[in-house]
Amino acid sequence: MSPLLELRGVTRQFGGLRALAAVDFSIAQGEVVGLIGPNGAGKTTLVNVITGVHPATAGTVRFAGEDVTRQQPWQAARRGIARTFQIVQPFPDMTVLENVAAAGVFAGSAPYGVRAEAAAMEHLGFVGLAERARQRAGSLTLAMRKRLELAKGLAMQPKLLLLDEVNAGLNPAEIEQALALIRAIAARGVTILIIEHLMKVVLNLCSRIVVLHHGELIASGDPQGIVRDPRVVQAYLGRRYAAH
C-alpha cells in the first residue's frame, strides 16, 4: 500500500538559510509518528511545507497519492491535512463553538448552520470543552485553548493530523489529559504526526520516531532504537536517555 504522506528530497531554503535539506520520509495510514529534534532543526518548517504555508524549494510532497507540493494552506485543509499550532491560533472574538464550527464548515463537510454547530458540539464534548461552548475563545486558559485546537483539528475530519507542540506550556496534570486525548484520537484511526520536545510523550504515543537536525533527517525508526542511536544522543537527547 502506498503511504498516506510521502516526502521526496524536500528542501526549503530561506534566502541563504537551508531549513530543510533533502528530507525523505513517509507516513503510512494509521501510524502515529513522532518528530523530534533540537530547536531550529526545521520541525515546524517541515509542517509548513506539508501544509503549503511555505512551499518546498525542491522535492515533492505527495498526499494520498496526489502531488500536493504546490498547494495552498486552504487546499491542504480541504484535502484532509489538519494542524495545530505551537502558538495557538483561535478566532478570539468568536465563541468556542463557532471556532470549531468554522473548522467543520470550511475544511470538513458540514453545511453552514445548525448542523455544523451540532457536530462542533460533539467534538467539544470529546475534548471536554462542552460547557465552554458559548464562551469567547479568547477568554480560555492556555490548556483549554490547546484542547480547542484539537477540537478544531478533529472537526476538519482529517486524514492526517499534525500536532505541533500541543503540550508546550502545560503542567504535568494537563499533559496527562492531553496524552489521553491524543491516544483517543489515534484510536479513531486518524494518522498523526507529533512534534514534541517531551520524550515522555513521544515514547508513550508513537510507534515510530524521526529525528531532524540542522534540517536533515538523521534517524528514523522505532522508539527504542532511536534513543540508543549515537547520532541522536549526541545531537539532541544527551546521555540521560542513552543509559536506559
Binding site: 501544509t51 504555508v53 495552498q72 494552506p73 486552504w74 491542504a76 485543509a77 480541504r78 494542524r83 499550532f85 491560533q89 483561535p90 478566532f91 478570539p92 472574538d93 468568536m94 468554522a102 473548522a103 464548515v105 470550511f106 475544511a107 453552514y112 478544531k152 476538519m156
Partner: protein
C-alpha cells in the same frame, strides 16, 4: 434573525413614508443619508466583515458616476445606465481585488487610497469621453416639478440602499459571511482551516464596490453635473469608514445608524460652526471613536 427582519421592515416602512411629509430640503437630506448608508454598508463588507481597511470607496463612487454619465451621454436610458455603472464598478473591484488583496493591513490601505487619484487623473485626461476638467452634464429627468424630481431620486437611492442591506443580510447569514469573520479575526488561521481567503476577500471587495458604483451613477443624475474633483473626492472614502466605526463595524444595522448620525452631526456642525466645521466635526469623531471604539450598537449590549 426574525427580529432583524422585523426591524428592517419597520425601518423600510418609515423610509418609504417619510417623503410624503417632506419638502425639497428634507428630501435632499434624506437622499444624502441613504447615499451615505449605501457607502457605509458597502464599506462594511470589506472593512467591517473582512477587516480590510479599504480607502477605495471614492474610486468606485467616481467610476460609477462617470460610467453612468458617459452611458447616458450615448443615449442609454438612466435605469440601464445606473445598472451598468454598478457592473463596471464590480468588474473593476474584481480586477483590483486580485491585485491589491495580496497586501495586508496598512499596505492595502495605502494602495487602495491611490486608486481614486489614479482614476481621477485618467478621467481628467480622457477629455473626449469624459469632458476632462470641464466636467460632464447629464440629461435632466422628466418630472413634473422640483419636488417630484427630488422624490424620484430619494426613492432611487432608497432602492439601492435596500438592495445593499439585503446583500449584507444574506452575506451575514451565510458561509461567506462566516468565512469573512474568520479572516477578520485571524487570516492565516482561516487559511489553515480551509477558507479560500483570496476568493472570499475579492468577493467582499466586489460587494463593497458594486452598490457604491450604482449610488455614484444615481448621484450624477441627481446633481446633473459632475467633475473629477467632486466625485473622486477622498472624503467619499473616509466618511463611510467613520460612519461604520460610529455605528458598529461588522454589524447589520451599525453602518445605517452611523450614516444617519454622521449626517446629523455634519449638518448640525456645518450650520452652527461654518468657519471651523471640519475641525469641530473631526474632534467629535475622535471623541466618539475613543469612547465608543465598538460603535453605538455596542451600547445596547452593555
Amino acid at each position: 434573525m426574525k427580529r432583524t427582519f422585523i426591524v428592517a421592515l419597520v425601518v423600510l416602512a418609515v423610509l418609504l413614508a417619510v417623503p410624503l411629509t417632506m419638502q425639497a430640503y428634507g428630501l435632499r437630506i434624506g437622499t444624502t443619508m441613504l447615499m451615505y448608508g449605501v457607502l457605509a454598508m458597502s464599506w462594511n463588507f470589506i472593512g467591517g466583515m473582512a477587516g480590510y481597511p479599504s480607502f477605495a470607496s471614492a474610486a468606485f463612487f467616481g467610476l460609477g458616476a462617470y460610467a453612468g454619465a458617459v452611458a447616458q451621454k450615448y443615449g442609454v436610458p438612466h435605469y440601464a445606465a445606473w445598472a451598468l455603472a454598478g457592473l463596471v464598478a464590480a468588474l473593476f473591484a474584481a480586477a483590483l481585488g486580485f491585485a491589491l488583496l495580496r497586501l495586508r493591513g496598512h499596505y492595502f490601505a495605502i494602495a487602495s487610497l491611490v486608486v481614486a487619484e489614479a482614476l481621477r487623473e485618467i478621467v481628467n485626461s480622457a477629455t473626449a469621453l469624459t469632458g476632462g476638467g470641464m466636467g460632464l452634464n447629464l440629461p435632466l429627468p422628466q418630472a413634473s416639478s422640483v419636488e417630484a424630481q427630488a422624490r424620484f431620486f430619494y426613492y432611487a437611492m432608497l432602492g439601492v440602499a435596500a438592495l445593499t442591506f439585503a446583500a449584507s443580510f444574506l452575506v451575514r447569514h451565510s458561509r461567506l459571511g462566516f468565512g469573512l469573520r474568520c479572516i477578520q479575526q485571524n487570516e492565516s488561521a482561516a487559511d489553515m482551516l480551509g477558507v479560500n481567503t483570496t476568493l472570499y476577500k475579492v468577493i467582499a471587495f466586489v460587494l463593497s464596490g458594486a452598490f457604491v458604483g450604482v449610488a455614484g451613477a444615481i448621484y450624477a443624475s441627481w446633481v446633473h453635473y459632475i467633475e473629477p474633483p467632486d466625485v473622486f473626492d477622498v472624503l467619499y472614502s473616509v466618511k463611510p469608514i467613520v460612519m461604520v466605526l460610529l455605528g458598529g463595524a461588522g454589524t447589520l444595522f451599525g453602518p445605517l445608524l452611523g450614516a444617519g448620525v454622521f449626517l446629523g452631526l455634519e449638518e448640525l456642525v456645518w450650520r452652527n460652526y461654518l468657519s471651523v466645521h471640519t475641525g469641530v466635526l473631526g474632534l467629535l469623531i475622535v471623541l466618539l471613536v475613543v469612547f465608543l471604539p465598538k460603535g453605538m450598537l455596542a451600547l445596547r449590549k452593555a
